[in-house]
Assembly symmetry: C2
Homo-oligomer: 177 residues x 2
Amino acid sequence: MGNPLNLPFDPIERAHDNWSQRWGASPAMAAVTSLMRAQQILIGELDGALKPFGLTFARYEALVLLTFSSSGSLPLGKIGERLMVHPTSVTNTIDRLEGQGLVLRRPNPDDGRGVLAEITEAGRGVTEEATRTLLDLDFGLGCYSQEELWRMHEMFVRLRVDFGDFPAPAVEAVRRS
Amino acid sequence: MGNPLNLPFDPIERAHDNWSQRWGASPAMAAVTSLMRAQQILIGELDGALKPFGLTFARYEALVLLTFSSSGSLPLGKIGERLMVHPTSVTNTIDRLEGQGLVLRRPNPDDGRGVLAEITEAGRGVTEEATRTLLDLDFGLGCYSQEELWRMHEMFVRLRVDFGDFPAPAVEAVRRS
DNA sequence: TTTAATTATTAGGAAACTTAACTATCAGTT
DNA sequence: AACTGATAGTTAAGTTTCCTAATAATTAAA
């Protein structure tokens, strides 16, 4: 359902109009509904673009994260923390990437309980190609200007801080607005 | 993973900083990543709030849609169209709601192939209660002002139009900004 | 040192999406 | 009137991500 709908009207606008008559205008209801749809569209777009590489956006993010590490490897727990996904999802993600030869598991020398995921050369290659593809796509957000994108990002920072992802950033970090 | 992360830093900001060093600043990358996280937080919040009613946000939306209809019933296909979900997901959603006694299936008198989902009295009651709960929650968006929420909504309208959900709205529809 | 916490995996299940095949029925054409 | 093609809904199999809970191994703290 990431596909074009081609409806003659905006179903969210119409839902909100009906909603207003019973419960009063709720910009929050309109915003949350259209945010959900936007996410659905974008994940469809990104996953579609990554399909030729055998990747999903989640798996792509894991690969990119590994390339950021100087050793090319990270404990699985760290990966989950950084990507904000559940430990069982990390296991699954790394399972797949390992099966594709883009990553390999090694015991963590610093922690006998732990496991490192290490990106392979093939993994690095795929990451580069996939990144070029996504950049060409503007990550699906080509209809926005740079300024709008930063504004959107900062809008979400507020939400994420509010829900306890991390402490409110220092003021200088909001310079780009 | 809709839970608070309580990290000492913003993992998305950090990822973007690393990203910038290799591929250059990409506000689109930052925006899409934080949008995904925002969606994850919000769906967790909404589903959590609806759990006491035995609902998910998707099932709640289906109920609300039915209450909007004068007859309290709609063909399943229409439901999928309005909620922008896949036909097989509609079948599943209505299966669940029917199992809970909130909805019942009837043959569509106007189309021998079709099926109507009709909301029950129990369904109407649950919808009212659930709605009050979500309104109290501001749909998880309590950290924004009304103006910001409309701006956010309109931002997503642009994306949705761009991806062919529906034709660009007339200018008067953007009056609230 | 005993206890408690952490790391990762496994298993079972929910929810939503995808593709594909299938039944019925409708609608347009010849 | 019959044939063809499209539509409505279901079913099935498989993917993804989440959840809870249990487990084994190891580490850290009391």
